[in-house]
Symmetry: C2
Subunit: 508 residues, 2 copies
């Protein structure tokens, strides 16, 4: 070890006696940085702890604590009778400061080179999420009424659970979820959605997005064909893309997913993502004939059906339509996905899968590998919320409110737009879709509206293929007041006129 | 449509007037089932609603409601002047009841055929999780002290948030997490772990398991080589396996991961999973020399390092060792993983990643695709828990308690086993690892101990390669009382003697 004779510059250790960081830690930090930056070279002999303590006007213990820590981490070595030295285990090359003071640049190309192929595909789905659903303002189409989240009841249930805690639930939980909640969901689904299931078939997940990701990872390989609805929702397309599957966009007409068209496009697709109760975004309900066609096709080809029943709780005209899962008498081809994001709040991050019995173990294992399990506390409160009847009451109350707001939005759109637009017929859910003419440019409208504080999903962005695209506006109504709805519709109509007259509408 | 002349058997509709299900729903259910089971064939003419109402002794509206619903779903069709008929859109073939009354059998082979190749790999990692960490009893090695979870404080913080709710937080949140929590974590990590980061580099996830899954999906492709520690923890091996990566088990010695050995096994591995602060399960701290070797290698080869700092908050002898991330002066090769499972509770499902700036966008997108974001409510409470100083206090209090229990476990093991076993030196964390002789069989011991109410991880199960396996017991102490620890150690010693003398120990 080369001896370096120079004395340690006092400036190496800068102490701030008013700082919260303990003095020993400040000494440790200063010395460590100096060593890493080679201001103190390997082999440099440090002053003794006594000398340094006098110099820095601190107790000797403070210096010793810092030295001990640095020695424990290998920065310093003590040799009996000789003193304390900077270790030469810190190689020269490594001690160079980073080339630039700034963190490495985030140039997208450079980042891309660092991601795996799979990582690049996942990373690029960011574009799919472009029209963020996060801002709470008219007409965000993805929200329930967040003003009406039942805080009072929730607070009471939370307090009860926290004041009389069951400590055995603070360990790792069942990956499939909190058992009492699974029982409540199974009963609810049987009664309200005609889903045939036992509690053991329910897998609690963190919302529909995780349900999709989980199912796609278990049931598809990269390159497998997957039918998605054309148009369909962002999240599904992103999940299918991220899973490395090959997207087969299957047209949706007034009877829902066109199964025959799908079979013509790719008869051997491994999996189908579908929203039969209330198609997103068009709002149609899948006809019984089509449902049976789809089930027959899936049973014949051995394909899987992911039934995303995201907002079926809210049906205004007729009563809820029974699930596709319940119709699958042969059994075992449908995986049903439900979420509490549209009934209670997306902030909860709770949803569920209903899986055929042969898949229970695989889904449970996969959930454990993804994130062990969903948080227990929220599951407990939600189970209590069900058990005490709040869930059913909340849905009933919201259904009335939403029916009213839906009519308000319809009327506001008619008043603001006149007969120039078509409101897609829809009997359910939390949004309405408005068709614009071919000469409109819904992307430009969405961008301009966002500047004016109006949030919406441009219909054309929900298509996969250019040739299928239709212009339209997907508008949510659940969370907004009468005034917000009326004024929003007026602003939106003005934006449409502005874009139309400026001729921005030319779609390539 | 063929007319079927037979009259509807009354038994088709069975009403239970005491049931909670409304009568119209009971009628709907009965008819729907009868149609699906072909007891009412396509084209069958139903009695009029008036006739059926008289027959069933219900109001006519009740029958009409059921008929309307069935018509809306396509089971019935009405023809003006002719009456109501079972639709022939329900094809014969489909109406067959399932072949067996039981759900499809869950024979593993059959299930396997239905999963994708990727799904099969994921599903089979179940075996890795065999020694479940879920039961809360001595000596579960994966738990903090769940008796000491700060319920009182948590309840107060929760009540405050729920009683004065910020409703704008009930929508979808930032996929990267709740900003105030990210700020708190960044400050904590800088001070306590010498991690260099800004809040924007923190991505909140649902625990270390999701952090691993996320990083592996973004940074590796199927078939890529990934170094894992040999021995190492179950969750890491499962995540790497599920990502389709090729596992390269790199030996751990008293200085931590043997970087040279790793480079000899696979010099171009794409990613390394490592626990430098407190190796799981052996308990060693990675030496500075090795840390620098690893960083140099990663900077040279462009490999990624996943630093899993799962329980570094608890260090008993020396002070906390600085993170590998903070040592990476060149910057950008280390992704740091932290979790609140060991500080507070696994039931919370909260953890975080610290990612280099160029990867922030990709990780944020990937988190959005995995599950949108982690639950907001728990993130808010945790942010308050930090802001009010409870976090630091809780760690200090637990550190004292754990230091005590650690000594209790050491003493209990010595008393029960004498000098026949070696306790691995370890200065940190929530577990101790005991080495048994080569002639022991830790798997048999773990199985027998489980029957007697003792939970542990057999060391040999934590190795990937047969030839590297050592026998030992990984024992947690955090959650168990003095009596539980003493009696547990005695039982365990008895089990070891029993297994040894029965000669079950022969490992092939």
């Amino acid at each position: 070890m080369p001896k370096v004779a120079t004395q340690m510059p006092l400036s190496v250790v800068a102490l701030d006696r008013r700082a919260e960081t303990p003095l020993f830690r400040q000494i440790y930090d200063s010395l460590r940085t100096a060593i890493l930056q080679q201001r103190l070279a390997p082999g440099f002999k440090l002053p003794s702890s006594r000398e340094l303590a006098v110099e820095l006007k601190v107790s000797r213990n403070t210096v010793t604590a810092a030295f001990d820590q640095l020695a424990a981490e290998g920065y310093l070595v003590s040799r009996t009778g000789a003193g304390t030295f900077v270790s030469d285990a810190v190689p020269d090359e490594f001690q160079q400061p980073p080339k630039s003071a700034r963190p490495p640049s985030a140039a997208p190309d450079e980042t891309d080179r660092e991601l795996s192929r799979r990582g690049k595909i996942i990373s690029r789905t960011a574009a799919i999420f472009e029209y963020g659903s996060r801002v709470v303002r008219p007409f965000n189409p993805c929200l329930p009424n967040i003003q009406e989240f039942p805080y009072r009841i929730w607070a009471r249930l939370a307090a009860r659970r926290l004041n009389r805690p069951n400590r055995s639930l603070q360990g790792y939980g069942d990956p499939a979820g909190y058992e009492p909640l699974r029982r409540e969901i199974a009963v609810y689904l049987g009664a309200a959605r005609a889903v045939r299931c036992e509690p053991r078939q329910i897998i609690i997940v963190s919302g529909a997005q995780q349900a999709l990701d989980l199912a796609l990872r278990l049931l598809t390989d990269p390159g497998d064909a997957v039918w998605i609805e054309e148009p369909g929702n962002f999240g599904t397309r992103a999940a299918v893309t991220a899973a490395g599957a090959r997207i087969v966009p299957v047209p949706v007409d007034e009877e829902g997913l066109d199964v025959e068209a799908g079979a013509a496009l790719d008869a051997r697709a491994r999996l189908v993502c579908v929203t039969p109760s209330h198609q997103y975004p068009l709002g149609v309900t899948m006809a019984l004939k089509r449902r049976i066609e789809l089930l027959k096709w899936a049973n014949r080809t051995g394909s899987w059906i992911l039934e995303d029943d995201y907002d079926s709780e809210y049906r205004y005209g007729s009563r809820p339509v029974a699930s596709l899962q319940g119709l699958d008498a042969r059994g075992g081809r449908v995986i049903y996905i439900g979420t509490f994001s549209k009934v209670l709040s997306p902030a909860l991050r709770l949803g569920y899968l209903v899986v055929p019995p042969p898949l229970i173990d695989s889904f449970t294992t996969a959930k454990a590998i993804l994130d062990r399990h969903s948080p227990i506390f929220e599951q407990m409160i939600l189970a209590d919320f069900f058990a005490e009847g709040h869930f059913a009451r909340h849905i009933r109350r919201m259904r009335e409110l939403y029916a009213e707001r839906r009519e308000l939005l319809k009327a506001a759109v008619r008043a603001a737009f006149g007969e120039t637009v078509e409101i897609m017929p829809s009997e359910a859910g939390l949004h309405l879709t408005i068709l614009l003419g071919d000469k409109s440019d819904d992307l430009a409208i969405a961008r301009r509206a966002a500047e004016l504080g109006i949030n919406l999903e441009p219909l054309s962005a929900l298509y996969t293929e250019e040739k299928n695209k239709k212009n339209g506006l997907v508008l949510g109504f659940a969370s907004f007041s009468e005034t917000e709805i009326r004024e929003g519709a007026e602003k939106l109509a003005a934006v449409c006129r502005e874009i139309q007259s400026s001729g921005v509408s030319a779609r390539p």
